[in-house]
């Protein structure tokens, strides 16, 4: 077997040194009834090229985003990742390193994390950021728990514009918590969260651009929350928007959680993704996840270490801020490389180009009879209402090779009010021809459906 370095004679020699008759002798503690008492019935090992054939056949059964016009967003976005990013993250010393517990021989990973934290703090406008969480959805749940620890209050209010999956994850994490208030979906952008805030409120959770693409007024939310001693948790699923929109930190956010996938990371059918979390300096000791800090070595040279680990499970055990351990190191690396390639100039241009294409999309959709654009504001994503149920239309377009966006009913199946809605996104990769084809197919599908 190509991955196993021992020859038969080496195995025999090693057993001799151990003084065991055979390898089964090493499993003597296993109850007889359980040791190799079965036939797995799994296929035997295969040459690399046959494994490749198998996997390629599976991959070929999927319609890749690059195969045609593509407008699917709703929390995951198709952006161009420079070839350099994916090349670099595959370097042995990045790809196959462990969590940097031994700082003397992990300065590469540690300095990168320090740079990553700085980048995240800068784009969110916050004081500090951690070294990544699993993704935006679990990060949101962690932020909610963090707010409860910080305020020692219980009520959490989730905006109706929060991504439905994120809402569901928070609900799972806070199971049976009567103080969790989930507002109804607000596809029209009219969600009223501020009136829900009271003295018992730990935090309100506001997403912007929200699930339906609307831009939310963070300043107003922060002011209202702070007036009641509550925190404002801002959720951002499209991190590219921060290149064009005001930083949440500048508007009063207390905790910012982002899904960072858009920068440096592929769609990957939903994972692995990258949770970003940033907060105020005074809150760091209640922040979950790893933190990298600057220090000096015995010779006085600058160096980096994982720090404040007294918050973490391997030290604090049941008193930890979170049970998180492995996070998204390599995705954070990809993010950090891509972000360093962008820089201020590139990040800004990228965001502007995304918005530019979204405006083109919105204007074109406005010309399709029967299609109503619900957004007064958006970054690169928007919601439209069709005169007919959305899901069959999206399916019809998919069969024609056009991936037209997400029918809201897929995420809110029990809500008849959203049955005709589609959420669509444009990015820098969206072409004029893509938009034209979408409009054409949409038009045809609505007409066909109407007949």
């Amino acid at each position: 077997m190509r991955y196993l370095p021992h020859s038969a004679s080496e195995r025999a020699e090693m057993l001799g040194v151990i003084g065991a008759a055979d390898v089964d002798a090493l499993f003597s503690a296993v109850p007889k009834s359980a040791l190799k008492s079965f036939d797995l019935g799994l296929p035997a090992h295969q040459p690399e090229f046959l494994v490749e054939t198998h996997m390629r056949a599976l991959a070929a059964k999927n319609h890749a985003a690059g195969d045609g016009p593509f407008f699917v967003g709703a929390g995951a976005y198709r952006h161009h990742v420079p070839a350099t990013v994916d090349h670099l993250i595959q370097r042995s010393e990045w790809l196959t390193a462990y969590t940097p517990y031994q700082p003397e021989i992990s300065q590469g990973t540690l300095q990168m994390l320090f740079e990553f934290q700085t980048q995240v703090a800068k784009i969110t406008g916050m004081d500090v950021a951690n070294a990544s969480l699993y993704d935006g959805s679990t990060g949101t749940a962690e932020a909610v728990l963090m707010a409860k620890r910080l305020t020692k209050k219980n009520k959490i209010v989730l905006s109706g514009g929060l991504h439905p999956h994120y809402r569901d994850v928070v609900k799972a994490y806070l199971k049976d918590d009567p103080d969790l208030v989930c507002l109804s979906p607000s596809p029209e952008g009219q969600g009223d969260i501020l009136s829900q805030i009271d003295g018992n409120t730990a935090a309100i959770v506001v997403q912007t651009p929200d699930f339906y693409g609307h831009l939310r007024d963070l300043k107003a939310a922060a002011d209202a929350a702070h007036a009641h001693g509550a925190l404002l948790i801002v959720v951002i699923t499209e991190v590219v928007s921060l290149g064009l929109l005001e930083a949440p930190g500048a508007l009063g956010a207390d905790i910012v959680v982002c899904e960072g996938q858009s920068i440096g990371n592929a769609l990957n059918f939903g994972g692995p993704y990258l949770g970003l979390m940033a907060t105020r300096k005074e809150f760091i000791r209640q922040m979950p996840g790893r933190l990298c800090g600057e220090t000096v070595d015995a010779d006085g040279n600058r160096g980096f270490v994982l720090t404040l680990s007294t918050r973490e499970q391997h030290i604090r055990r049941e008193k930890a801020t979170s049970n998180i351990c492995t996070n998204s190191g390599l995705c954070a690396l990809a993010f950090s490389i891509h972000m360093s390639l962008l820089g201020e100039a590139g990040f800004t241009r990228l965001a502007r180009l995304n918005h530019h294409n979204a405006v083109k999309l919105a204007r074109m959709l406005g010309t399709v009879p029967g299609v109503e654009l619900l957004n007064k504001s958006f970054f690169n994503e928007m919601t439209i209402r069709l005169p007919v149920p959305a899901a069959p239309v999206v399916e019809m377009l998919a069969q024609a090779g056009v991936l037209a966006g997400v029918p809201v009913s897929r995420l809110e199946p029990y809500n008849p009010n959203v049955e005709n809605l589609i959420v669509l996104a444009a990015t820098e990769l969206t072409t004029h021809a893509d938009i034209e084809m979408l409009a054409e197919c949409l038009h045809a599908a609505i007409e066909e459906d109407a007949q």
Partner: protein, 489 residues
């Protein structure tokens, strides 16, 4: 070797991407345009390439040397897995595009599930957890949901042996459970009688690692499972050490109810300097109804993805469907090995650990000599007594010899623990060199040459780092020198 921070190399003018400057129609921005400066340094592509290549060269990695970290299973990461994960049919598909356009992805999830269920002999698997600790959380949530559904919400205690990973008590506490420790026997294993004594109508579950963190297979595991079940509790098994037994022992045959499997340990998805991982959880028949969404099932028009179950016990623990990229790598690894190769890998992992133990047991102290070890060799630091060399010093001296240190001071139940996990990926030649170096170091420590250890490392990119300073005065991001407050005169 020193490498400046990227902010010390680049500036806001430099950029390594070419994008057109477009005119913006701001009528859709609602007045929320950015007014504060990003102040984000950029690098051109040649600068970025060199920065990240140079930084990487300050890392130890499995590709450049042995990584005998106990409990971490740092094994070879085949590049075929990376190549497959990058096929556009896997990497360039969106989690919410129509299910009819991702039938290959669902089939892949189904195949991965089949391998996991077969290797564990369990009834159901939840693929979506993002890592081991997340899987643990999900598994314990399922147990809680099952207890609640059975009218057993009053069960508020979870038993955790003292040797457990820190994630175990953290997870239990997270769900509101009270953690009750179970002591280990002198031989390093858990006594069924101790478990029985701890069991009560308040106990919801036991969380047990098997093989345990001392590197031993729990010989009474079946009896323990029986006692737990008899007491109306569930058996959560920490699957971190599944690499020792895959294809050789099926956890389902031992009576477990839930177990997470770290794809990034057992099935070789690369650790990446701290993730991403993936932590699917297998579930017994009793817990299967409490699996979360999403899951795949066969439907009339092909495979279906079930994303909602009304009034479902658990709902969902992450957006979308979990770590697809890791599923691809893990399945590729499984197909490459086959059932035979996985069993051989487990056996070789155990062989390697026993070989290290055999070669070093006359020099190092072995706390639990009674059993053959599984895939880890556990030593303690009593051989360092009166040498002036600490376990940490010893570990740092290993760095100067080109090895990553073993896991230290864990499990907590052993004083000065040194936990060595070679995995099946290491050749006899490497193991021999490792043992030679370890023996030489031990001999040198005993000979009184403490300075070599207390000064170590001297050949690494950095000497020992001041962790206290880092924690006392946290500096968690770079500040432009001009932005820093002036030092006091």
């Amino acid at each position: 070797p020193d490498e400046p921070l990227l902010f010390e190399i680049g500036d806001t003018e430099h950029s390594g991407v070419d994008l057109p400057e477009v005119t913006i129609d701001d009528s859709f921005l609602g007045g929320f345009e950015r007014k504060t400066k990003l102040d984000l340094a950029g690098l051109t592509e040649p600068e970025a390439m060199r920065h990240y290549v140079r930084l990487s060269r300050m890392n130890h990695s499995i590709d450049s040397g042995m990584y005998p970290l106990g409990s971490c299973t740092m094994k070879h990461n085949p590049r075929l897995n990376e190549k497959m994960a990058r096929l556009p049919g896997f990497s360039d598909i969106h989690p919410l595009q129509p299910v009819s356009t991702v039938q290959g992805a669902l089939e892949l999830m189904n195949q991965l599930s089949h391998w996991l269920l077969t290797l564990t002999n369990t009834a159901a698997v939840a693929l979506s957890p993002k890592a081991g600790a997340h899987g643990e959380l999900l598994g314990m949530m399922a147990i809680k949901a099952a207890q609640d559904a059975a009218g057993q919400a009053h069960r508020t205690v979870v038993l955790v042996p003292e040797s457990a990973h820190g994630t175990n008590p953290a997870t239990a506490a997270f769900l509101g459970y009270t953690v009750k420790p179970v002591p280990a026997k002198a031989d390093g294993t858990v006594d069924v009688e101790a478990v029985k004594a701890a069991l009560s109508p308040e106990v919801a579950a036991i969380m047990l690692t098997n093989p345990n963190t001392c590197g031993l297979f729990e010989p009474q595991v079946i009896e323990i499972a029986q006692a737990v079940h008899d007491a109306g509790a569930f058996f959560y098994c920490d699957g971190a050490n599944f690499n020792a037994i895959m294809g050789v022992v099926r956890p389902g045959d031992l009576g477990i109810d839930a177990m997470h499997i770290n794809l990034h340990k057992t099935f070789s998805t690369p650790h990446g300097g701290g993730g991403p991982g993936a932590g699917p959880v297998v579930l017994s028949q009793a817990l299967a109804p409490f699996a979360p969404v999403p899951f795949v099932r066969k439907g009339e028009k092909g495979l279906e993805l079930v994303e909602h179950v009304e009034e479902h016990a658990l709902c969902r623990v992450t957006a979308f469907h979990g770590q697809m990229g890791m599923y691809v790598r893990a399945l590729t690894y499984m197909l490459s090995h086959g059932g035979d190769g996985l069993a051989q890998a487990a056996q070789d992992a155990v062989l390697n650990a026993n070989y290290i133990k055999a070669r070093l047991q006359h020099i190092f102290s072995v706390p639990f000599p009674n059993y053959p070890t599984m895939h880890e060799a556990l030593f303690d630091d009593s051989f360092l007594k009166d040498t002036g060399v600490t376990t940490l010093d010893f570990a740092k001296a290993m760095i100067d010899e080109g090895f990553h240190p073993m896991t230290m001071y864990f499990p907590l139940v052993v004083h000065g623990a040194m936990l060595v996990e070679p995995t099946e990926s290491e050749s006899k030649q490497t193991l021999d060199r490792f043992c030679d170096v370890m023996a030489e170091l031990a001999t040198d420590a005993k000979a009184g040459n403490a300075a070599r250890f207390t000064a170590a490392p001297v050949k690494a990119p950095r000497r020992r780092l001041d962790e206290t300073r880092a924690a006392r005065q946290p500096v968690l991001k770079w500040e432009k020198p001009a932005d820093l407050p002036q030092a006091a005169e």
